[in-house]
Symmetry: C2
Subunit: 279 residues, 2 copies
């Protein structure tokens, strides 16, 4: 017969209840979760009223979720948990381009465009030429790399957030590299924007004295045969929120130059090379 | 400017983002929560797929919550978290009756009954005489103590779970002690029952190889002027689930004798004294 619950042995009592024939990875993950949950309550000497607040917070977070709104992912993002899981699962050698979070606004199936094409379809914002190469760790160009890009528009919204206002596939496109590994397209200089902050997560940020903004960034998924997929952003180097991204997505190596250009095809130019690692 | 996110310093990066002028207790609780959440991901090397499963589990848990169903409390209960918070907030000296979880089935406003009255209104189950005294730590009787009792019926359901089948206030009542501190009422010998297990928490228990049962118990809230309130159960000593209560509510000192009685007012007798501590 298992031991009865005691305050001291609380986590052990719970974990001893798992059957020994369950999936070993599930047992490992659950035992660790229970240990940390119980340690949290013990270290904080959590009060009954705080427990009730937590239950109510989770219930409200669940209540606002819908097909269009994922408040638990926002919660994970704003507590740095999404970035941590991303980091754990995407460790790369020095020199390789670092990963960051996918975010909720990627849409599969964007149109494949020609190098040099524009992706901004609503005519808003300051134009920016994005160019560089997809290379391996030795600097050799990768041909046939697929670059899926997306950003917000000049008002700070992705096309899918404003289906009645923005043209479909606005600020989205897929580019495929040739033998030189080079890419080149014209988008806009993206702008910073708040994550949806009218729900429980926004209230939490308010109580913590945190703003809900993400610094301006261009999203990329870069894939190539024989190489690990890369999910990342490049960040606009002069953004005021660079040091306080509400989802902690910024890595120093992902801050890209944005240079004003006179007389070019666009008002700005942002060069960046993507360095992939072998599978 | 705050440091950028790194895998090593992930929790520190998140906690450094809190404003220094927020409520200090909130800052303490959140910092501890973030540290343990991040340590959990690091110790388990949580995969992206496991993170997605967790997000989906929380979303489904939120989705089943309603005015009548609180799946997050069930989750807290089945992970021993509710009992831990109860234990932290209700430490008592040796000899005092221990607390256990309130559970979701208490209803305020039950009828006040006379000592010796019956509380089972549906005529089902084996009758049981509950009797004893409410005393202080020195064994002195406490007059005017209010004893609010409730249990399931012989089919394992509380009246509020079957409003169309059970009489209102079935197996519920409030008793007030006289100068001798004694109480005495006739209920049924309660039966073990499963917590609602048709949702995400029930699925979790299945994956963990755990059953959803609570051992048979009688609920009590005992309050008296000048004394700390007591929220507890007494458990039926021969119940097969005593060692595996799915919400970890059993404490050894709360297991009560249930004795068969020939020729008395009830088929069983369960004596138990409640020992209160001063405010």
């Amino acid at each position: 017969m298992a031991g009865y619950f005691t305050e001291e042995g609380s986590a052990e009592a719970v974990n001893a209840r798992m059957d020994e024939n369950i999936d070993p990875r599930l047992a490992e993950v659950m035992a660790c979760l229970v240990r940390h949950l119980h340690a949290f309550a013990k270290e904080t000497q959590l009060t009954q009223a705080e427990w009730e607040y937590g239950i109510d917070f989770l219930t409200r977070t669940g209540g606002i979720c819908s097909g269009e709104r994922q408040e638990f992912i926002l919660l994970s993002d704003t507590l740095g948990f999404s970035m941590l899981v991303d980091a754990i699962n995407n460790r790369r050698p020095p020199g390789a381009t670092e990963n960051t979070v996918l975010g909720p606004f990627h849409v599969a199936g964007a149109p494949i465009r020609q190098m040099g094409d524009g992706i901004s379809l609503d005519g808003k914002g300051e134009s920016c030429l994005y160019e560089g190469r997809v290379v391996d760790l030795d600097g050799r160009p990768i041909a046939g790399a697929r670059i899926d890009v997306w950003s917000d528009n000049a008002d700070g919204f992705y096309d899918v957030q404003q289906p009645d206002i923005q043209p479909r596939w606005n600020n989205r496109g897929v580019f495929v590299t040739g033998p030189d590994g080079a890419y080149r397209f014209i988008g806009i200089k993206p702008v910073s924007y708040p994550i949806p902050d009218d729900g429980p997560v926004g209230q939490m940020l308010g109580h913590l004295g945190r703003h809900p903004y993400r610094p301006a960034h261009m999203h990329y998924i870069v894939t190539a045969e024989g190489h690990q997929g890369l999910v990342t952003h490049t960040f606009v180097g002069d953004d005021p929120y660079l040091g306080s991204d509400t989802v902690f997505g910024v890595k120093k190596t992902l801050i890209a130059p944005f240079e004003r250009v006179a007389g070019g095809p666009a008002a700005w130019r942002s060069p960046f090379d993507f360095v992939l690692v072998p599978d």
